[in-house]
Amino acid sequence: MSLQARDKEFLALLGPSGSGKTTLLRVLAGLEEPDSGEVRFDGEDFLALPVRKRKVGMVFQHYALFRHMTVAQNIAFGLTVRPARERPGKAEIKRRVTELLDLVQLQGLEKRFPSQLSGGQRQRVALARALAIEPRMLLLDEPFGALDAQVRRELRRWLRELHDRAGVTTVFVTHDQEEALDLADRVAILKDGELVQLGAPNAVYEHPATPFVFDFLGQACQLPGIVQGRTLTVADWGTAAPEGAPQGAVQVFFRPDEIAFAPADGAGLAAEVLAVAQRGPDVRIDCRIEGVLMELIGHGPTLPAGVAPGLSVRVKPLRPQVYAT
């Protein structure tokens, strides 16, 4: 596979576990060596450089902070290990640490030890530590994987702002599609060590290249169908085929929330409603379409009155995606 990150870009590597995304990141960092292939940075052969000379800032899933050092010592580590003639003076290091603490919003915690911080704070220290060396590239390996959902969402927003301010090319590994779509400029989707699709979050979400990507990026409903000319037929429902759809027997995918309901005599897929359950703002509708049990998602206030257990309705997928079988 070949993959290029653009300057100052926020690139997400997204894939299920075992897809090789972390390995790819570790190859970029130099912590692992590829069997073949090349890594270039700005034209320079990266594989020829040892880890410590690559100047990449790496943030690990489990923080990897130095437990016996204070927050300030952790952040300053990358500066203090420099050879004497490149090492900034004590005052300069102190100034940098204060600056970085401001940046990650941990003012006043420089004397604490990592064990005295919360998970979110620790990860921010790890980030400040990685930024201290003025990295040419920032590598984040599931940085929020060990945090709870609320903190994760907060940090996500904050990380994006930080990236925009610091202006460092960032490569971010995650298995959480929501995180990748929310954060990245471009998303690279990996499967079994291969690049499946690369593109802007919206483009990838709206036009998944393969059934795998469709399935991976969100919930999916799947039915067999037939494309003839410009018409897509699923059971007794006919609609315009999406552009570029293959001819013949196809797999039709749609999102369970991208649907419209119609009365039983209207247009759409005949569905028998089995159960309706309110889940917060959404309503989960279990129904049987073409003999297949599906979970559809509707929005409470806009749900038509006809959608109730035991009734028949028509379900019209708004944006079906078609893949050759």
Binding site: K55, G78, R82, P114, Q116
Partner: protein, 296 residues
């Protein structure tokens, strides 16, 4: 049933504002504190405290100046110096060596690693007298190593060097076995983080790995030291036991016992106890400080 309409009682606020009697012991949700603490105290009293108390009482039979006279005897002072001095030296020597062995055993895969690993425990298992005889056989002027060293005018057995060798031998497993598990549990990604931050291999070891190992290493060294101070069996064979030169304090105690000078023996024992206890307390304090750092 007027009850049904009454306002439910306001739950009592569980806050620090509630007056609370200060407790001597922090309350634990684990039951059995009294029982387990009781058994611990009784056991420690029977096994450790009572014998030590008997030891502490014994020397005063000869009065304070008797004790002072015993301890200021040049032969006794020299024996104490030899025992503690060489024990400390041996324990300190074992620090880098034990560290290196633990490093080799945990960091590398090579054929025979498990056998080597088992060999480390041998000084634990061997009766110390056997170890003493074996060491003497090798290091005495007629033994292979001893003869070699003699060519350079170094006398290994029957000299302080011999005592040192024996004490290094018996102390080594303490250091290795204390450090090894901690080294095994070191997170790999912490070292990798150091690498990405630009640390050289040496900086990675000295600034990241060693500080993490320091508490375990210190604990291993103090165990090795404590063991060396009390060592008797292996040393008396190799030491030569010349008064004022290579006579260790435990041997002197045995000599006094054989002369039925129980109070004198107990006086030396008490002195050893006091010095050992002081040293262990000091080492423990440092160790607590080291392991508190970053874990509080």
């Amino acid at each position: 049933m007027t009850d049904r309409f009454s306002v439910p009682p306001v739950p009592r606020p569980v806050t620090d504002a509630w007056p609370r009697r200060p407790r001597l012991v922090e309350h634990s949700i684990l039951p059995g504190l009294k029982l387990s603490l009781g058994i611990t105290l009784v056991y420690l009293t029977l096994i450790v405290l009572l014998p030590l108390a008997a030891l502490a009482v014994r020397p005063w039979e000869i009065g304070l100046d008797g004790v002072v006279r015993t301890l200021s005897d040049p032969r006794v002072a020299s024996a104490l110096r030899v025992s503690f001095g060489i024990s400390l030296l041996a324990a300190l020597t074992n620090a880098p060596l034990g560290l290196l062995i633990a490093w080799t055993l945990t960091r590398y895969e090579f054929p025979g690693r498990r056998i080597l690993d088992a060999l480390v425990d041998l000084p634990f298992a061997l009766p110390t007298a056997v170890a003493g005889i074996a060491l003497t056989a090798i290091y005495s002027p007629t033994g292979p190593v001893g003869a070699f060293a003699a060519q350079f005018g170094i006398k290994t057995a029957y000299s302080p060097i011999g005592i040192f060798i024996a004490l290094v031998f018996i102390g080594l497993p303490f250091v290795v076995r204390s450090v090894q598990p901690v080294m095994q549990d070191l997170d790999k990604d912490v070292e990798e983080a150091a690498q990405t931050l630009g640390a050289t291999d040496i900086q990675r070891v000295t600034r990241v790995v060693l500080p993490a190992l320091a508490p375990a290493l210190l604990s291993g060294v103090s165990l090795a030291f404590a063991r060396a101070v009390g060592e008797y069996g292996s040393v008396i064979f190799i030491a030569g036991n010349m008064p004022l030169k290579t006579e260790i304090a435990p041997l002197l105690i045995v000599i006094k016992l054989e002369q039925y000078d129980y109070a004198g023996a107990a006086a030396i024992g008490l002195a050893m106890l006091a010095i050992s206890f002081g040293a262990l307390v000091a080492m423990n304090a440092v160790q607590i400080y080291l392991s508190r750092r970053g874990r509080a």
